[in-house]
Symmetry: C2
Subunit: 430 residues, 2 copies
């Protein structure tokens, strides 16, 4: 029976902009003990992976509770030692990194974790990043052209050493087998990388590739190279359309629909009853600071909102079309439902543009099942409002229902992330 | 009483080129379980820090047992979770990295480890690195000009957030204190970096800075910014000269001699008797593969040796002056002692140009004490030939003697690396 894949999204104190104000909630995403506890929660529930989002600037006005954080690769490497089975995904940009270093770091994470590494390859949407790297932020098309070549180089570097290269024969003194090494000599328009890496083929052959781009070039890149795709959607219809858009692209890259798992992001707010869940959401929403939410909205829309009443419809604000998946999905919803600016910033504050699913445990499980069986999802990227309670509710109340229905595993399928995802290890390259 | 500082150098299977051939020796530096055991050995002996060397290419002919390794930052982040007190130093290049990412990663390591992070800032000596980054390797002067500015930017970024920036007041909803933030806006010849970091001021205020450059610009940079300097020397005279060269430069940067610890690298080969130690060294040297050692020597000297007899004196080979600390120290010794090429490659194979100290535990302790008290060292960068035994001999036989003489600690001075090094936490910047 086909089963769901569940990922835990980590960034800041939780996905609700003010979730940290809940009683007992974690207030710092620089606290490795608290983050270690989040990973332990997810592993106890047999989640496929934890996945840390990222961006490359600090924007304390629009994103206060996302501002201060650990760096993804060091954080996931630390968590590799405190967990045993769960996958470890880190976001690293193809626009502001170099492929040799990225290939090397994820190979290292895969070795350290015994085959649990995943790279969330992003092109970095915000132009604010450029100023920290002394560069003008490249436009969307250029970022995706670079990303495609970047991924090719990384894959080529991962395939530079075959299995069995490390011989270490004490009797003969032979340490390496030179026949197990292939020099890449990549020479492309954006990158010239000789190789090989100074780290051998990894437990998974290649670390798992995650992607999230919802634009046309983003979908193409994902169809070519991703193992898991995170989608940003507001409702079932949009989720189905995105799901179909990705899956239909796979054949042209010689891939099958089951080769890529599509996981919509969802912030679950769960109660023992629907009433209890709605009350929790009301408390969370009541914590939103209107000034902060307004700045967050302005930043996401890329426009100044000072001249606009918060009770005016979003449709009255002149907008340019963005390339940001979050914003696009929210924009679609706002236009369709004629939402006011206040409505939109409340949605944005709740889960930064992701789908909010509020209800009793049965209702939440029913809806996830309907999406999973209705051509909208292969699982979900779970984005708790806050920790530990916002996540514990999901684990304690919803996961057992999914498991009882046979929709989610009760124990790990093997030691590696590829085992949980049902992905074969790529054959040794030569 | 002044006490020694001891660091454990990690790179490859050990510092002897063929140490992995010893019975029971670790044969893979990609094996986190084995590396974790090395860190545990060092922490059991109250070492100040472990420190991972690095370079940015694979050279399997000259450096087989150094070729395949974990990436330093991910490796040290993992070890942060398996250790409690020992400092964690990682080598990262100022030539092939960007300062925003480096500042961020080491800040993260400092948070994760509770104040035990150290950055070994190197400029990368080998031109082989350039080919993995699509760049022509910059010359020595240019690398050091870049490194100086790079360090300024990293320090500025570390000082971008003051203590107490994270408020997280549940009642008012204030998450950050904007008065605790300073935007860097660095605009220099090599780097333009706006800042701030998306990670707050670290437990140590600033991670500790390690450096190893022995050239004039290297000494200047170290005098300006390093907390610990690793030196590459062959004998007491050279060690004294290097020690004085560094310490005498400190005043012009407003620093005191005790602000910087100088730790010569040493590969100890220890026995219960001198005979036993000499026998161990003979076994190790017998494992050297002459073909490999010859390539290592050619690579280090930067010349082709095919036309030269191995029993010819090194003085007969035309050499250009290099900037490589390792080679320079060996060259000095080879010229002074009129060594043959075979002599030199045997030295190079033993500890890659570092000082080899072979003797009974008492003899080794006596020599270390003489250097420590004789104006040549503030401690040592211990480079075991292989693991675990090559290191265990030092820990079990030599460290207790140093401790009995009051020359080395018997327990950690505090939770942070600065505590072990006797360095004050830099005051909060504003």
């Amino acid at each position: 029976m086909r089963q769901m894949h569940l990922g835990l999204f980590l960034l800041g104190t939780g996905s609700h902009v003010a979730g940290w104000r809940m009683p007992g909630a974690v207030t710092s995403f620089q606290d490795i003990a608290a983050i270690r506890a989040m990973a332990a929660q997810a592993e106890r529930a047999c989640f496929d992976l934890i996945f840390m989002g990222d961006n490359l600037y600090a924007d304390p006005d629009a994103h206060p509770s996302y501002t201060l954080r650990l760096e993804p690769l060091t954080m996931l490497a630390a968590l590799a030692m405190t967990t045993t089975h769960i996958g470890l995904g880190a976001t690293v940009s193809t626009t502001y990194s170099d492929p040799w270093s990225v290939a090397r770091a994820f190979a290292s994470l895969d070795h350290i974790s015994g085959g649990r590494a995943a790279w969330n390859a992003v092109t970095t949407s915000s132009a604010l990043a450029g100023a920290n790297f002394g560069r003008v932020h490249p436009n969307h098309a250029e970022r995706y052209a670079v990303a495609g070549e970047f991924l090719d180089v990384v894959m080529g570097l991962w395939d530079g050493w075959a299995d069995g290269a490390l011989v270490a024969d004490r009797a003969t003194g032979q340490y390496l087998d030179p026949a197990k090494l292939r020099v890449l000599n990549h020479n492309g328009p954006h990158f010239q990388v000789k190789g090989p890496l100074n780290i051998g083929r990894t437990p998974q052959g290649r670390p798992v590739i995650l992607q999230a781009g919802g634009s046309e070039p983003g979908l193409d890149l994902a169809a070519r190279s991703a193992d898991v795709v995170f989608s940003v959607v507001q409702d079932l219809g949009e989720a189905r359309a995105q799901y179909a858009a990705l899956k239909s692209r796979l054949a042209r890259h010689g891939r099958r629909p089951e080769d890529v798992s599509v996981l919509p992001g969802v912030m679950p707010v769960v109660g023992r009853t629907e009433r209890e869940a709605l009350d929790k959401l009301a408390v969370l929403q009541g914590f939103i600071n209107p000034q902060n939410a307004r700045m967050l909205l302005a930043e996401r829309l890329g426009v100044n909102l000072d001249a606009h009443e918060m009770d005016a419809p979003l449709n009255a604000v002149p907008l340019k079309e963005g390339s940001h998946g979050f914003t696009q999905s929210l924009l679609n919803k706002a236009r369709r439902d004629n939402l006011t600016l206040r409505d939109v910033y409340n949605l944005l504050g709740a889960a930064r543009g992701h789908w909010v699913l509020c209800g009793s445990a049965e209702q939440v499980a029913d809806t996830l099942q309907a999406w999973f069986e209705g051509g909208a999802a292969d699982g979900f990227n779970v984005m708790p409002s806050h920790f530990p309670d916002g996540f514990e509710d999901f684990i304690e109340l919803v996961v057992p229902i999914l498991q009882a229905r046979g929709l989610f595993r009760t124990r790990y399928a093997g030691p590696m992330l590829r085992d949980q995802l049902g992905l074969a290890r790529p054959p040794s390259p030569f």
